[in-house]
């Protein structure tokens, strides 16, 4: 359960979120809205990358501003640009980086990383320089870096924006098959047909919160 209680946020003078009240218990939730409407800010609050200026956020009852570490252990985050999420030179090392505090030995970490990579179609790439992977493979690698920690929730901020159509489809199919609850921020409304809940943001406020079809209808009307 992810709860936003009267959440507001401002950068300096500028108010970017206000009066957000949400209780998200569905398995697949999406945030949509215009550029600058506050989607990324709201999504980052779920794992404590941004702390709300007012109100509070709770993830399974834990407040990210106090229990950042515990929350981040439950919440994985996939960003838009794979180049800045891959932090180590090879695919295997990158996934193993996630496990550095797991108490496993270096050998066990490498083995576990290879396992996850194989599971998601990157078998054989463990020793491959990460920057030589294709865009789709890089985003897959970023996802593996999160999945290896087995989080309960996966927040994805426009994870497919830089991918071509085929890789986008592939990534979404993969996302759909995961055990994790997913919160997806996207401008790609086609991806949301089978979502449980779609939240429309506008000017930092929630303006629609419904099943995909009515919510997206509202969003399209809003844009005009």
């Amino acid at each position: 359960m992810i709860e936003f209680e009267d959440v507001g946020h401002s950068y300096g003078e500028r108010v970017v979120l206000s009066e957000v009240n949400l209780r998200l218990s569905e398995r697949r939730v999406a945030f949509v809205g215009a550029n600058g409407s506050g989607k990324s800010t709201l999504a980052r609050m779920i794992n404590g990358l941004v702390l709300p200026s007012t109100g509070r956020v709770l993830v399974d009852g834990l407040d990210p501003s106090r229990k950042g570490r515990e929350v981040r252990r439950r919440v994985g985050f996939v960003f838009t640009n794979p180049d800045s999420q891959i932090v180590m030179p090879t695919a295997g090392e990158d996934v193993a980086f996630s496990l550095r505090r797991s108490g496993l030995s270096a050998g066990e970490r490498a083995a576990r990383a290879a396992e996850i990579l194989t599971e998601h179609g990157l078998g054989g790439y463990a020793d491959h320089p990460a920057h030589q992977l294709s865009g789709g493979q890089k985003q897959l690698l970023a996802l593996c870096g999160m999945l290896v920690l087995d989080p309960d929730v996966l927040v994805c901020d426009e994870p497919t924006t830089l991918l071509d159509l085929r890789n986008k489809r592939q990534f979404c199919t993969l996302l759909a098959g995961l055990r994790q609850r997913v919160v997806l921020v996207t401008h790609d409304l086609d991806l949301l047909g089978d979502f449980d809940r779609v939240i429309v943001l506008d000017g930092g406020r929630v303006v629609a919160d419904d099943e995909p079809e009515p919510a997206l209808r509202h969003y399209r009307k809003l844009v005009g």
Binding site: Y11, G12, L49, L51
Partner: protein, 191 residues
């Protein structure tokens, strides 16, 4: 005057690491043309000045230390693909070690300015350069066994280095103008 820490320690780490990589890339990339010169010049030694005047003293110096550490353990990150601990055993090595002080001094001066404009940056980077010489010349002096001669020999670097101070200041001024958050927003405050 202390540098406010960003709310995320990881952002601090990332800036340090990425700037160390930035200094490396300045050296890997073939030189660029300055002014009307027809030979490309390598601007890697403007890197520490930029680190100090953009990241601030603490993070700027940390990124230079990290960069030099990687050179020392054998990565060929110095311009021209040089690297290894040998880089610290030649007569000019003091100037390399002095980069740390350069970043520190430039960062300290920038952090003391109320408004970060070109004059402040010129002052900061010139002081950074002097700081580099303060390490480089005595090192050379010990190496050749004659301090005055070391100071004299170092004069040949002054014109080139002066150009780099001006270039680094112009670049940093534009970057500070493009990213006002650098000196305003606490999260990315340069110190």
């Amino acid at each position: 005057m202390s540098e406010p820490r960003s709310p995320l320690p990881a952002v601090d780490l990332a800036r340090t690491v990425v700037f160390a990589a930035f200094i490396a890339v300045l050296g890997i990339f073939p030189g660029i043309y300055v002014g009307g010169s027809s030979v490309p010049i390598v601007i890697q030694n403007a890197g520490p000045l930029l680190a100090g005047s953009i990241l601030g003293a603490r993070r700027g110096a940390a990124s230079v230390v990290l960069f030099l550490g990687l050179v020392a353990i054998g990565l060929p990150l110095l311009s021209g693909g040089r690297g290894g601990i040998a880089s610290f055993s030649v007569p000019s090595s003091g100037f390399l070690i002095g980069w740390v002080l350069s970043a520190l001094v430039a960062g300290l001066i920038v952090s003391r300015a109320r408004r970060v404009g070109l004059p402040v940056l010129l002052l900061a980077n010139a002081a950074g350069l002097v700081a580099d010489y303060l390490i480089g010349i005595p090192f050379l002096g010990v190496y050749i066994g004659d301090l005055p001669a070391a100071a004299l020999q170092s004069l040949i670097f002054v014109p080139g280095d002066a150009v780099k101070v001006v270039a680094a200041s112009l670049i940093a001024a534009v970057v500070h103008r493009a990213l006002p958050d650098l000196s305003a927003r606490p999260a990315t405050r340069t110190g």
